[in-house]
Symmetry: D3
Subunit: 243 residues, 6 copies
C-alpha cells in the first residue's frame, strides 16, 4: 500500500512520530519518575516500590506489577469531571490502566522480582491524543529506574526485567494509514489501533477498532507495519534516555 | 502455518467451533431475547427499546445503541462476588460492555434509528470461556428481533441495521492457533485474541493479548485467518436462527 | 368465607397455583442449581458451598446460610436499571434477600453444618409476580442438592437440614382471597401476603401488607388458610423434584 | 390460650405495654416534631412539609408521604457504625423506613394532600427494642401536627388524613405471647411480630418471623389478639397527646 | 475597641453567651452522654469506650480519641438531605468532625489512655448556629464521664485527661464583635471565628474566616478577647455540670 | 519576641520563604495554567471558564468561583492511595479545596463575573509541605490569566477581580516561630497556622492548630506578624509573574 499525499493537521508525514521527550527524575519522591511527551501529550509516570503484594500473590514468592491511570481535569480541551470527586473511575480509565498493567507485566519475571509490587502511576498533565501509548512507553523507563535502585542497593541480585516495552497508536486518517495519532486525527479517524511491542520485536497487544466503516486485512497489515516502525524508534529513544 | 496435531481438552480440531445454539424469544418481556450457547458458555442477550436517548444525543435526531454485561455470581467455577452487592462493576465488566456496545453500533445507522435507544443486556448464566464473543453474536440476533418489531408496527419505515455482526475468540494453545477457546484453553493459552467482524467481512475489532510470551506477525495472521473462518460460520448460524 | 365467582386474569380458580416446574442441575458449576418456574416467573437458584464463614461466626464451630437476590434488567415489563451499574442494591432487593436468608436458615442446624457457608443466589430471569416465593421454594432444592454433595463425599457425616421450606403469596383480589398472585393481580390487589412454612407445617414468616384499604382478621385467616394449602402442594413438588 | 406465669425482665405482665410518652413540639423547626418513648426506647419523629413531589408523582395532582429512619451510633448497647460514614444504609434500615412509609401512606388521601410531600424522619436517640413500632406511632402524631399547620393556614381546605395509625411488637417469650418486646425479650424470643393497625381497627401490616422454631396458627392468633389490644391503647394515647 | 450599641436579634449584649445547659446521662447506653444546649442549638454528645484502636495505633501502647458529627435532617430550618441516604458525608461534616477530634485529643495523654479508643459522637438535634462549638464543649463532658467509669472500675489507674477544653464562636456582626453567634447572626455576619481553648487558657484552634470584606488585626484581636472571656465561662459551666 | 538561633532543616532563617517560582501557561488547554513551586512543593493550578453556574446561582445574574484539590499518588514520600480508585475524597482533601474556594471567592465580585464559573483545579505534583498555601497563591495567578482572556475578548467589560490573594503557613518549630514550613518542619512542629491575606493587607483566613501543647496569644501574634511579611512577598512575586 503506497502512502498517498495527505496533509496531516500537524504537517507530519504519515510515518512520522511526534517529537518525543523523556525526562527522568521529574519528581523526587518516587523510585522512578518520568515525564514523557509525545508532542503536546504529556504524561507523568512514576514507579513506586511497595514491599507488599496483593492477596492473590501472598506467600507465592512472586511479586506484582500494576498500574493506575488518571487525567488532570483540565488536561483536556474542555474540563472533565474529576474522577475522585465523582466517586468512581470511568470505564475508559479502567480499560487503559488494565492495558498498561498487562503491558508492563509482559516484560517482568515476577519470580525474580520477589514478593514486592511495582506500582506505576500514569497521570496525564496534558492530553493531545495517544495518552495510553505515551504512558506505557514512559512507564517502562520509570520501572527501569525503580528496579535499578533495587539492584544498586543489593535488595535484588538479578534483574527481573527481561525486555523493554513501548507502545504507539496508528490509524486510518482520510483513507491513509498514519503513525502516532494526535487529538485532531484521533477524533476524526476511521480506524484506531494501539500496538504494544517489546524491544525484541514481539507483539504484546494489538487493539484495533473501526470507529467508522469496517477495516480490511490489508489495512490492518499496513497499520501493523507502521506501528512496528514507530515502536522500534521509541525503543531506541528509551535506550538513549536511560543512558 | 500448518496445524500440527494437538489434543484440545474438548477433543475439537484446532479449527472447530463448539456447538452453537441460538434460541430466540427465550424470555417474554424483552423486544428481543436470545439465549446463545457456545458449548457450555450460555449468555442471555435481551434487546430493549427505550423511547429516549442519553444526553449527548438529545435533539440530534439520532438514536443510540448501548450494552451492559453481567455474570451471575455462580456462572463460574467458584462463586464470584455479586457486583450489585459490591457496589461497582469491575474493570473487566466495563471493558466487555464497552466492546459489545461498539460492536453493535458498528452495524447501526443511528439516524435511521431515530431518537430511541436499543439497550442490550448480556447476562452470563454459565461461563466456559468466550462469554464476550457469545454475547456479541447473540446480541445481534436480539437487536434484529427488536428492530423487526419496530418495522412491523410501522414505528420505523426503514431498517437501521446495515449489516450483521458476530465475534469469536482465537488463541495460541500449546503452540497451535485454535478457534473458539473454552475455559481450560483460555486459562492456559499464550495468546488470546477476540475478533469482531461484520456479515460483509469487514473487521470491527481486533484485540490480541500476549498472556505469556509475545506473539509474532505470522502467528497474528494465522489467528486472524482462523477467526475469519469462524465468524463466517457464526454469521451463517445467525441467519438460520433468524429464519 | 366462601370463594365467590371472580375471573382471575389467568383464568385460574382462587385456590389454584400456577404450573410449577423445578429443574435441577440447570447450570453446571454450582453445587446446587435449580431453575424454578411459577408460571411465567422464572428464577435461577444456585447454592454454593464456601469453606469459610463471615466474621461473626469465625471460631464458633457453626456455619452460615445466606442469600442474595437479583433481577436481570429485562426480567420485567419495562427495563429496570442494572443494580451493579447504579452502584447499589435497592431497598426492595435487600428486603427480599434478607427474607430468603432467614427462611433458609430456619431449616438448617448451623452446628451440624460446621464452619462453612451455603451461599444462595436467586436471580430472576423472568418476572411475573411472586419472585421471592419462587426463590425460597427453589433455593431449598438447590441447598438440598448442595448438602447432598457434602454428605456423599463424606465431608459431612450427618445432615444439617432439619426440615424443608417453601413459600407462596396470597392476596385479596377484587374482594376475594386468591393463591399465588401473578403480576396483573399483584399490581392491582388490595392486600398482599407472603407466607413461608416448613414441610412439617410450622410457620416461618407471615408478611401481610394492605396496599389499599386495611384488612380484617377474617380476611387474614382466609389468606393463611389458602397459603397453607398452597405450601403443602409446593412441599410435595419439591419432594418429587428431588427424587 | 391462657397466659401462664412468666417473669418478664421488666416485671411487666404479658399484656402490659411499657410506659408510653408522646412529647409534641420537641424541636422547633419541623412542622411536626414528636419525641415518643416506649419505655427506654426513644425516637424523635419529625414531619417536614416539602412543596415538591418525587418524579413519579409530578403532574399527577397527588402528593407523597415518605419516611427515613436512622439510629444514632450510640443509641445501642455497643456503638454501631454511623451509616453516613460507612456510605450506605443497612438492609435493616431500608426495610424499616419502607415499613414506616407504607404505614403512613395507608392513612393519607394523596389527592387531598395535593402536590406536596410529607417527609417523616424517625431518628432513634435510645434503643431498647421496638424502635420501628415507636417510630410509626410517633410519626403519625408528627404528621398530624404538620397537616394541622396546613389546615390552619388555609393551604389545605380539607384534611388528607383519613384515619390514625399505630404499631406494636408482640412475640413469644419463654413460650408465652407477650406485648411490646423490650430489648432483652427481643434478643431471646422465639417469634417476633410487628403489627400496624389503624384507629378504626383495620390491619395494615402483619410481619411475623420465627427466630427459632416455627410458630403455629394458634400462636399467631394469640399474638394478633395481643397486638390489637396494645394498638387500641396506643391509638388512645395518640388522641390524648393531640388534645 | 469599644462595643457600640447594636441590637442583636436575640437582644443579647455583644459579650453575652446564650443560656447554656449541660445535661449528663441523657441517654443510658453510652459511657458518657451529654445533651448540651447553647440557646436553641442542641447537640447530643456521647462518648463510647472501644477496646480497640485504629490500625495506625495498633501495638503502640497508645490509645486514640476520635469524633463523628451529624445533623438530624430536620435539625435545620429547612430539611437537609440525610447523609446516610445520600451515601456520603459532606465536606462541612468532615471538616467539623476533624475539628472536634483534634480538640479532644489536645487534652488527652494517649499513652495513659492505653490501647483503647474514646469515640465521640456529636449529633445535632436542633441547630441555631454554633453547633461545632457546642459539640466540643459537650464532648469534653461526655469524655470526662466515660473516663471516670474507667477510673472507677480500676481499668485505668491514672487519668489520661490532662486539661479541660471548650469552644465558642465569635464574629463581626454589623461592624461589632459579638460572642456566640446564633443562626441569624451567623448567616449575615462579615467575619466568623471559632476558637478552641483549654481550661488552663491555652489556645488549641483559631479558625477565622472573612465571609464578606477582609478583617484586620485589631478586629482579630477584639474577637480573640471576646472568645477568651466566653470560653472561661464555658469551662466554669462544664465544672459545675460535672460536680 | 526575638528570634533565637535555631537550625531549620533547610538551613533557612526563621523568617525566610523557600524559593518561589511561578510559571504561567504551563499547560495549553486551560484558560489559566500555573505551575507554582514553594521549594520542592510543586502544584499545578489551572483555571477553567465554564459558561454555566451551579444550581444555587442559576438565574441570579451572579457567577461562581470554586476549587478542587488533588495529590498525585506519588507526590508524597510514600505512595498514597489514588482517591479516584478509592471512590472518595478524604476529609483533608475536602477541607483544603473548600479553603481554596473561599479564598478565591474573597477577591471576586460575582455580579461582575456574570453567570459563569471559574473552576480552579490545584493538583500537587510533588509535596514538601505547604501545598494548600502554594495552591491558593498559584490559583490566584491562574484565575487572573483566565479573567484576562475574558476581558481581552470583550466577553467581560469590567474586571470581576477586586484584589489579589496569597497564603502562607507559619508554625512554632523547636519553640521558634518560623515562616513557610516544609515537610520536615510541618511533621514535627507544635503549632501550625495557615494564613490567607489579600494584596491590600486584609485577612481572609486564619487557621491555627496546636499539634502539641496549646499556644499563647503572644505566640499567635508572632505567627501572624511572620505570615503578614511572607504574604507581602508572595503578593509581590505574583505581580512580577503577571507582568
Amino acid at each position: 500500500m503506497t502512502q498517498p499525499n495527505i496533509t496531516r493537521p500537524s504537517g507530519r508525514t504519515p510515518t512520522q512520530l511526534r517529537p518525543v521527550s523523556i525526562s527522568r527524575a521529574f519528581t523526587k519522591h518516587a523510585e522512578g519518575s518520568v515525564l514523557i511527551a509525545f508532542g503536546d501529550t504529556k504524561v507523568l509516570c512514576t514507579a513506586s516500590i511497595l514491599e507488599k503484594v496483593p492477596p492473590h500473590k501472598k506467600g507465592s514468592g512472586e511479586g506484582w506489577v500494576t498500574a493506575e491511570y488518571g487525567m488532570l481535569p483540565r488536561a483536556t480541551h474542555t474540563r472533565s469531571d474529576r474522577e475522585a470527586a465523582r466517586g468512581k473511575q470511568s470505564g475508559r480509565t479502567q480499560e487503559i490502566q488494565r492495558l498498561i498493567g498487562r503491558a508492563m507485566r509482559s516484560v517482568f519475571d515476577l519470580k525474580v522480582l520477589g514478593e514486592r509490587t511495582i506500582h506505576l502511576d500514569c497521570d496525564v498533565l496534558q492530553a493531545d491524543g495517544g495518552t495510553r501509548t505515551a504512558a506505557i512507553t514512559g512507564a517502562y523507563v520509570a520501572a527501569r529506574d525503580a528496579i535499578n535502585t533495587l539492584l544498586a542497593s543489593g535488595v535484588l541480585k538479578s534483574d527481573p526485567i527481561i525486555d523493554s516495552v513501548a507502545a504507539i497508536s496508528v490509524g486510518i486518517y482520510q483513507g491513509v494509514p498514519v503513525l502516532d495519532l494526535d487529538y485532531p486525527e484521533d477524533s476524526s479517524c476511521d480506524t484506531d489501533m494501539n500496538v504494544v511491542m517489546t524491544g525484541k520485536g514481539g507483539m504484546i497487544e494489538v487493539q484495533g477498532t473501526a470507529e467508522g466503516p469496517a477495516f480490511t486485512r490489508p489495512e490492518l497489515n499496513a497499520l501493523l507495519d507502521l506501528a512496528q516502525e514507530g515502536i522500534r524508534d521509541l525503543i531506541q529513544l528509551q535506550k538513549e534516555a536511560l543512558k
